[in-house]
Every structure is written in C-alpha cells, then in structure tokens.
C-alpha cells in the first residue's frame, strides 16, 4: 500500500493546484464516456477533450512540484493525495449524467477555463504562462464544440430541451463556487501569478448568457447553495472517483506504463 503525500500549502501552489485538479477531475469524468457516447464522433470528441485536460493537468502538476520543491512527481500529485487535499471545484466531480448534462458542463467549464488561461498567458510565472499559451487554444476549441451541442439540444426536440433544462437547473447551483474569491485568489492576483477567480464572473456570465440565448434557454436564478470543492470539502461523489483513479497506484506503488 502506497502512503499518501501532502501537497505544498503555499498559496501559489494551492492556486495552481485548484486549476490542475479541476482539469484532472473533469478529464477523468469525460474519460468515462469512452465507449458510451451516443455516437462515435462524440465518443472521440469527449475523449479527445479529456486528453487535452489531462495533458494540461500534467503540465501543471509537474510545474507545481518543481516550483514548490516538495520532490513529488506528477503521478504522485495526481494519485496519492487524500480527498481533502484535492481542490477542484465541485462542479467537475458530479457524475457524468446524460449527454446533455455532459455537454452543458463542458460548455460552462471550457468557457471558464478559456478565461482563466487567457489571463494566465501573461502570468508573472513564465512556465505557467507557457502552459496557458498552449491550453487556451485547446479550451477555445472545446468551448465551441460543447456550445454547438448546447444550442442544438436546447433549441432542439422537446426531449432534448427537457434534458438540457434539467441539466441547467442542476449545474447552475455549482457555478457560484467558481467565482468565490478567497485569500489564495487575492495573493495570486497581488503577486501577478494569475487572476482572482472572482474577477472572471462578469465575462463568464456574458458569454454563457449569449450561449443560452442562442439555445433559447433561460438563465436560471441563483440559489443560496454553495459548494466548496476548491477548499477540499467535496461532494459524496469525489471518493468514488478517487477510488477508481487511485486503486492502481495504491496497489502497485510506482507502477508505470
């Protein structure tokens, strides 16, 4: 049995870890579609998107270990932490749902990630800026693809619209967490590493409103519910994902392809 590792508690490392974990867990969720998407083209699309996200997470993990000097490699960071030490937003850990749910979540997340990467491209951290310069191009493509589906399903048949509406209602509750700034955001903004995530709310909402308008879907009302994944307090779904992801590394310590 492989023991767990402790990631760096440094604010800069935690800021990057939130982004890395968000990419990693969304990539894991999308990977679950392999062999299950409604059509072959979308099977390929979802798994290609997963591949990009996991590639982005890998680059961030490698950079985090190097800059925080903890000596962990990217696999250790990805596979050997306890649940409370993962700091992805809760939205990405929700079960994959149906195709409408997955498409809408991808549209929400790729819009968000695109805005994050755009700003990180001018980060004071040169390596982070380099990772962002590449990732932003990928996020744009993901956003467009997922957005196409939101419009086609939202403004589609009665059944596709019903599914899109129910996905929107469920997912919208997890959006406020994305834009809830805290001390880690403030420090990142001050040191020039990256934006305070709360500053991304207005541009995100503008893009999503445009998309939902085209899909003839109404922007839902905000609820009082607040998720807290990026502070390490996750939904009940997180443990199951980690069990899936970590089993191999725990059972066969250091196993590689």
């Amino acid at each position: 049995m492989n023991p767990s590792i402790q990631p760096s508690r440094d604010a800069g490392a935690q800021y990057m870890l939130r982004l890395a974990d968000t990419c990693l867990i969304l990539g894991q969720r999308l990977g679950e579609w392999c062999g299950h998407a409604p059509i072959l083209e979308e099977d390929i699309a979802l798994t290609n998107t997963a591949l990009d996200l996991i590639g982005q997470a890998r680059a961030l993990f490698a950079h985090i270990s190097q800059s925080s000097g903890t000596g962990h490699d990217e696999d250790q960071l990805a596979f050997l932490r306890e649940e409370r030490d993962y700091v992805n937003v809760t939205l990405v850990e929700l079960p994959r749902g149906d195709f409408a749910f997955t498409s809408l979540r991808n549209a929400m997340m790729s819009t968000f990630l695109k805005l994050v990467w755009e700003r990180l491209a001018t980060s004071s951290d040169a390596e982070l800026a380099a990772i962002a310069g590449k990732a932003v191009k990928e996020a744009r493509y993901h956003q467009r693809h997922a957005g196409d589906w939101v419009v086609r399903l939202g403004d589609g048949t009665a059944e596709s619209r019903r599914r899109m509406e129910s996905a929107l209602e469920e997912l919208w509750r997890y959006i406020p967490e994305l834009f809830e700034g805290d001390a880690i955001d403030v420090q990142a903004q001050q040191s020039g590493i990256g934006p305070d995530w709360s500053s991304l709310r207005a541009p995100w909402l503008a893009e999503m409103t445009q998309l939902l308008d085209e899909a003839t879907l109404a922007v839902p009302k905000d609820s009082a519910f607040r998720s807290s994944g990026k502070r390490g307090v996750h939904s009940e779904h997180m443990g199951y994902i980690l069990a899936d992801m970590q089993y191999l590394q725990r059972a066969y310590p250091g196993g590689v392809w």
Binding site: L40, E41, I44, A45, N48, T49, A50, L51, D52, L53, I54, G55, Q56, R58, A59, A126, E127, A129, A130, I131, G133, K134, A135, V136, K137, E138, R140, Y141, Q143, R144, H145, G147, D148, W149, V150, V151, R152, D155, G156, E207, L211, E214, A215
Partner: protein, 180 residues
C-alpha cells in the same frame, strides 16, 4: 574553441538538421517532425546535441515517442550524444508547418490548415441546428478533387490535431489538420 572545432560543431549541427528532416511524425508519417515545425532549434551544449522541440497539444500522446525517435535517429547517424528539451513557449501553431509539409499533407489526402486568426480572438459563434461546425468558417477544399463543396463530419478525428470532413462532390471522406 579552435576554428577547427567550431567548424566540426557546425558540421555536426548541419548533419543533425538533415537527419531530423527524415524523422517522421508517428501519427502522420508522411511529414517529418521538421515539416510540422516541431523542431525549433538544434544547439550544442558541451559535447551533447540538444534538440529543442515544441509539443503540439498538451495531451498529445505522441510527444514522448517523438522525443525518443529523434534521439534514436541522431544516435543511429553517429551524431550522439543527443537529448531533447521540451519548450512550451511560444506555443506551437499550425502556421509553423512548412509549405513542403502542407503539400505533403494534401498529397496524402489531409487538408492542410489555413492561417490561424491573429490572437485567436475571433468571436465564437455557435452552430445551432445547422450542420455542426458550419459557424461561418471559410469553406474547406477537398484534398482529392479540390471541390469547396465539403462538410464537417466530426470535429475531432483520429488524432488530437485533426478533424474529419467529407466531400459532397467526390463523396470521399478526408481529414483536416485543424488550424491551431
């Protein structure tokens, strides 16, 4: 460094470039890693050749394979020791694919990428109920018959860098190297 050693170093780097021109991309073997613009530089550090490579996509599974095949090719040509250094910035763009590379892609039935929009700051338009992907893009020419009467089949293709289209005239499907 003596003049003789400097000449030898230059000759070694020139030969290295010539070898790299023959290292195929593992997923599109009709083009070399140089045609694709993946090799950014070759330098000599102490006595070791350092090949600077920029990966295409963050999650491209071929990246490690490419690095290994570069080192193997240089060693096989007697130019080693050699190593590969991955450089992310500036990010790879399909604008770096050479004209020769574009011609090879087209001859191989893969539509080469058009120029990348400056800064990528094109407003994103969604396709709605029309054919997916038909969001105001310039029409793509079929690499077989040249017809502009083509349609997107799948936004993602057999590899991260390609999408799948079909020609509505000659009826053949073809791949498109996506502008990035």
């Amino acid at each position: 460094m003596t003049a003789l050693a400097a000449t030898a170093a230059e000759a070694r780097m020139a030969r290295a470039w010539a070898v790299l021109e023959t290292v195929p991309d593992p997923e599109v073997p009709v083009v070399s890693v140089c045609d694709l613009g993946l090799v950014r530089n070759v330098v000599l550090v102490e006595n070791e050749l350092e090949v600077v490579v920029t990966p295409t996509y963050s999650g491209c599974p071929a990246t490690e394979y490419i690095a290994n095949s570069i080192i193997e090719a240089l060693n096989a040509a007697g130019l080693g020791p050699a190593r590969v250094r991955m450089q992310r910035a500036p990010a790879w763009t399909t604008d770096w694919i050479s004209q020769e590379g574009r011609d090879k892609l087209r001859d191989h039935g893969i539509a080469p990428p058009g120029p990348v929009a400056q800064g990528g700051a094109v407003p994103i338009r969604f396709a709605g109920r029309r054919a997916a992907g038909d969001a105001g893009d310039a029409p793509l020419a079929c690499p077989r018959c040249g017809s502009l009467h083509t349609a997107l089949l799948s936004a993602f293709g057999s590899t991260a860098c390609k999408a799948l289209h079909r020609c509505l005239d000659c009826k053949e499907p073809f791949e498109h190297f996506k502008p990035l």
